[in-house]
Subunit: 472 residues, 2 copies
């Protein structure tokens, strides 16, 4: 009998230490790129139990892989194949702890599903803006550990900007009680932001105090046809000036990306598909009223058409039209999957440099790989592009992926570097990109990261090899 | 000849190493609480020179005190009395490096005066929201090193939320080039936020990329008479709902604090002074137009008067009226100084708990110290109170300060702790509050802070004893 397993059973109860049967829900990553093998999956129900699990693992020198909804994109929360790592699943910790409407805050367990967090805010007459495709199954702890982005960043910021305080179990199994509801607190180093985005490598987030916003009185959606990426940038500037903080969404989509949607989902109609090189989805959240929102939107689109950066536009008349427009945007990844295998990138570039980046990188790839097709879409307001590369029409897709993935990645990432961009805008590093990190961070930055890791987790038991590659 | 001085002269030129004459501009802190003695004041002109200075000091084991405009409130950027510390003044590094309007960013040297940063944004047709009393002489590097707050936090956040990237010289004299203009970048630990607010104890900020916003089309100011702190809180909730992101200022001021203004500056008239327990200054920044801003303000104030949380209100008709209202708010600290010595606190409390905090703490102090007078004002929207305690009318103020300061601090800080607040909302810790920190942070938090300090500055040469008290 493994003494660590006994200690874990003592900490959380035997029923919450899983070692047998099909554990693929915990061992297989979301994109099905890696199927690991856990020593055990441990499911604590309280912060104290999490601390006890960490202490037991620390005593045994056993690595811990914290896991939320297991919806990550970069293999950051599933075990490796060694059978030596313990998966620490937070999903049993799913309580809404408290709501404080006058303070505009909500305090929750880390294992709360994002949709339930959004709902708790709504039940209090308020709004929690974090929104992303996996919201029905991802957890807020995972969102914070990876500093999730999503569609509302242009107005409300990333997960980092939506969090006021954390509760964290340290690598030593102590509890840091940092659940502050304060908007101003300058008493020492910013521990909160160090844990946010550290992907479970510095501590285990067990609870969070989140920042809420007033619910908008009306949210309207528009679709604009724009002739070029330059024009999309001009439209973005006009939207900032006309809508200010009302601009809560700005998604740009290239024509080829859009053309895949009706090709694979014929019931969907994409506005202005033939006439324009790009479509832009705009969202305007208004504090006042729907007529006011509509008047502002019309004024903006008139100015844009006068400028020439928009050639045609439509404002959704009702919620179902708005949903249909968003549905086009959300269908692109699915349509792309139907079209076949492809190489995905989640990059960011300073907003002002995106037109030049796209023009150069598109041309470069088309020159290097004949017939390659570019599925380009993203959150232009944040400089975040999902710059995906699809095999040539009718080609052998498996062969394309096998032969070209490394080369395409190298070409794209080198372009990203030239344009002062990031190779991971919102998905993180995990295992998938850890080996690439040293090529994209300066030795000074990497040295500081290693020093911080060593300072907080000297034993190296928290999610080892994720984010920072293991030393040789 | 001191070999360190030779090395410093070689690094920055002899003219920029000051050792003689009146150095009180660098050695005396802003509130004139501490007059230290520097080994030398060194004034590098470039990032490379800063790095050379740090390397020279590191080689000699000599402590460095980074300094910007020397306007800090907590004795964090002046030398101690030992004559052993080198003051590293950043004020010669005052270039606006670049503006990128399409990316809504501005990149500057750390030594730029805040007002010049604001002006550079305005010159580009944009807006940098950080605003505070010392803006004519404080530097952006100091603002970031102390995570400055100010009057616009309710809408735009603290300095932390206004910064996208940093350039930092490490304790080893290396340059971390982290001047990112990216809004999304999840490639590793959040080094930026670790340096922001660390008060020069982890690295020396030499440059920053700042986040700009569109200029509002109109900014209106109103003054409301409110009968109680509870009513002020209700008004804040209504303002959030009616104005959304338009609410850019919400300052509450108690009647006694307000009464000091006409007492010492008779030309100033405070609206509704006799009729109401509190005055609230509201600012509404509108993306659309002045008539629209006015209509929204009137609707809000009507709703508030109907509710009863406001008994009377006035909206400034023009800019000079708006300035006069802000001038009252800004005159409170000066009027308070005219009234005599007092004990200042810069605290924050969760917004929802402020009415109970004030009621309890006011009563406690009045019970403990007969005749004590409370000068209470602050940024209610952020939960930040300047909760100041004035000697009884006509009493011996020197004696009051001498006999009561420690006791008053202890009483107020204990209340802050009971209400889950912070003993330093926006001013930082510096030397002044370093000894108090261990009583207000958990051992786990302090342990992590010490580990981080040791990881990044193992020699302990950067601003030693500030923020973290020196170990015994």
């Amino acid at each position: 009998m493994n003494p660590l397993l006994s200690a874990l059973r003592a900490a959380v109860g035997a029923a919450n230490v899983l070692t047998e049967g099909d554990l693929s829900a915990y061992e297989l990553d979301w994109r099905r790129r890696s199927h690991g093998k856990a020593l055990a999956v441990v499911r604590p129900g309280t912060t104290e139990e999490v601390a006890a699990v960490v202490r037991a693992c620390a005593a045994a020198g056993t690595p811990i892989v914290p896991q939320g909804g297991n919806t990550g994109m970069v293999v950051g929360s599933t075990p490796d194949a060694s059978g030596r790592e313990v998966v620490l699943s937070l999903t049993r910790m799913n309580r809404i702890r408290s709501v404080d409407p006058d303070n505009l805050t909500l305090t929750v367990d880390a294992g709360c599903v994002l949709q339930n967090v959004q709902q708790a805010a709504e039940d209090a007459g308020l709004f929690f803006p974090l929104s992303l495709a996996a919201e029905g199954s991802c957890t807020i702890g995972g969102n914070l550990a990876t500093n999730a982005g999503g569609t509302q960043v242009v107005r409300y910021g990333n997960a980092r900007e939506l969090c006021l305080g954390l509760e964290v179990v340290t690598a030593q199994g102590e509890v840091w009680q940092g659940l502050s509801g304060l908007r101003k607190d300058n008493t020492g180093y910013d521990l909160r932001d160090l844990f946010i985005g550290s992907e479970g490598t510095l501590g285990v987030i067990t609870g969070a105090t989140l920042k809420l916003h007033p619910q908008p009185a009306a949210t309207l959606t528009a679709w604009a046809a724009v002739p070029s990426m330059d024009a999309a940038l001009t439209l973005l500037g006009l939207a900032h000036r006309h809508l200010g903080a009302g601009l809560t969404g700005f998604e740009v989509m290239g024509r080829f990306a859009l053309s895949l949607v009706p090709r694979h989902f014929p019931q969907q109609r994409v506005p202005f598909l033939q006439e324009s090189a790009y479509g832009v989805l705009l969202e305007n959240s208004d504090q006042e009223s729907e007529p006011h929102a509509r008047a502002l939107f019309e004024k903006l689109l008139e100015a844009a058409m006068e400028d020439g950066c928009v050639t045609d536009a439509v404002v959704a008349e009702n919620i179902s039209q708005a949903r249909a427009l968003w549905h086009i945007r959300e269908s692109i990844p699915l349509a792309q999957a139907q079209e076949g295998l492809n190489i995905k990138h989640d990059i960011s570039i300073p907003v002002s440099r995106i037109p030049a980046f796209c023009a150069e990188t598109d041309a470069l790839l088309q020159r290097e790989i004949a017939g390659v097709r570019l599925v380009n879409f993203g959150h232009l307001g944040d400089g975040n592009l999902h710059y995906n590369v699809q095999a040539p029409e009718g080609g052998d897709m498996q062969a394309f992926l096998r032969d070209q993935e490394e080369r395409v990645n190298a070409l794209v990432f080198e372009q990203v570097r030239r344009f002062d961009g990031s190779i991971s805008a919102e998905h993180g590093i995990g295992t998938l990109k850890a080996a690439k990190l040293p090529h994209h961070k300066s030795p000074v930055a990497l040295g500081m990261m290693r020093a911080l890791k060593k300072a907080l987790d000297p034993q190296g038991i928290l999610n080892p090899g994720r984010v920072l590659p293991l030393a040789d």
